[in-house]
Amino acid sequence: QMSAGCGRLDRPLRALEPTRRVESEAGATEFYDERDAQLSCAGLSAARIRIQRNGLMLPSYSNSPRLVYVLQGQGNVGVVIPGCPETYQQTTPQMKAPEREEYDDDERRGRRREESEESESEGRSRRGYEQYAIRDEHQRITAVRQGDVVAIPAGSPFWVHNDGDQTLVAFAVYDVSNNANQLDKTFRHFRLAGGQTSTQQGRQQQRKQRYGESESEESESSESEQSNESYNILSAFDTELLAESIRVSRETARKLQGRHDRRGNIVRVRRAHLRVLRPTTTEETTRN
């Protein structure tokens, strides 16, 4: 850590502002300059995230753990812990009877009729994915609001949806020097969805913000904006191989790769609400 900028901390410290901005269809992410001596010494990186109403921050994971503080608004966060089961489930009505039991004659006749209907509907559903009798299932979802802190482990993908009536604003800090990160001390964002994103970085602004930069380095910097492009990680796989591995059509695989998607990292949900499974308040208060 000492070699990563701590030696320059005897100079006066100063307040930091974001230096990079990634614009999306329904929000923006503003990054602080992680090469700044203060941040690099501490082994931290930081960003401010703005998600507009009904905006969805697409699933991604990073090489370091992060803590997020909700500054404004409310929403839902889904953190997918790899290897953990999908504990929120919605099943289809055509569930098979759990086990065979003893019936009297009337019951047995009725039972046979039911079983015959079941097998017909099962035959229909088995033509597709519905053989599992599951409409949808996913891992736990956490509701967040202003003042909440959310912890996201390294390598765990997460998504965020703003279901409130104002912009959701959050401040995130990434611990890039954490033991969980074996890559270099750079925040790396691995996106599982979405198309190409461009980072607009005002070099002049960055130069002003960077602590301890020499005069000669400043004179070499151009005042023009720099653009860094990135794609989602599925985009680089061979389309046919990806389609076969997921067992979907090539067209669907191309959509997963999002090469022509220009919505960015935060997209607008197409309907008025995002349909997710979650217990309702009435269910919570229902008597036994």
């Binding site: 597709g128 996913h138 979802i141 890559l183 680089a236």
Partner: protein, 187 residues
């Protein structure tokens, strides 16, 4: 205490024995994990090993290593391997043949398909954590499976039906997927 703690520690474990596989699919192959839970000395070394065997044309599910780098050494056969960086760039796209090795950096996405020859593909992977974990992107207990279908539908711009196919297309399969036809494919 050194005598009890270190001197008598078990130092050897066989990972080639098919009967010791931790994950197995008849048409896909098998993976045997050797971590510090099975061999405690690995906690001192901070490393672990995976041994994998894939049948011809089987697919190693797209995944990333959560907490470790991996050095993959091919012991037999060949596979087409693709490794993708955080920028969505293919940093490796080639064949890995017996005797060759490649590093899969932490968090980078990786996917492979075994060759169509009889021997398929076998490898041993050395990881820089004594309890290395990986996160599958598709299949059972995967990243995409853990998200609501509507999140996927909006994220990928697909219908609800397609989103559910993305989630459940591989059913209960994990780690190594059987080939589409179950048979041989031309190279």
């Amino acid at each position: 205490g050194v005598d009890e703690a270190l001197c008598s520690m078990k130092l050897r474990e066989n990972v080639a024995d098919a009967g010791k596989a931790d994950m197995y699919t008849p048409n896909g192959g098998r993976i045997t994990v050797l971590n510090s839970q099975k061999l405690p000395v690995l906690k001192l070394i901070q490393m672990s090993v995976n041994r994998g065997v894939m049948r011809p044309n089987a697919i190693l599910a797209p995944h990333w290593n959560i907490n470790a780098h991996a050095l993959v050494y091919a012991t037999s056969g060949r596979a087409r391997l693709q490794i993708v960086s955080n920028a969505g760039k293919r940093v490796f796209d080639g064949e890995l043949r017996r005797g060759q090795a490649v590093v899969v950096p932490q968090s980078f996405a990786v996917m492979a398909r075994a060759g169509s020859e009889e021997e398929g593909f076998a490898w041993v992977s050395f990881q820089t954590s004594d309890n290395a974990m990986n996160a599958p992107i598709v299949g059972k207990t995967s990243a995409l499976r853990g998200m609501p279908a509507d999140v996927l539908a909006n994220a990928f711009g697909v219908s609800q039906e397609a989103a559910r196919r993305i989630k459940f297309g591989r059913g209960q399969e994990m780690a190594i997927f059987s080939p589409a036809s179950g048979g041989r494919r031309p190279r």
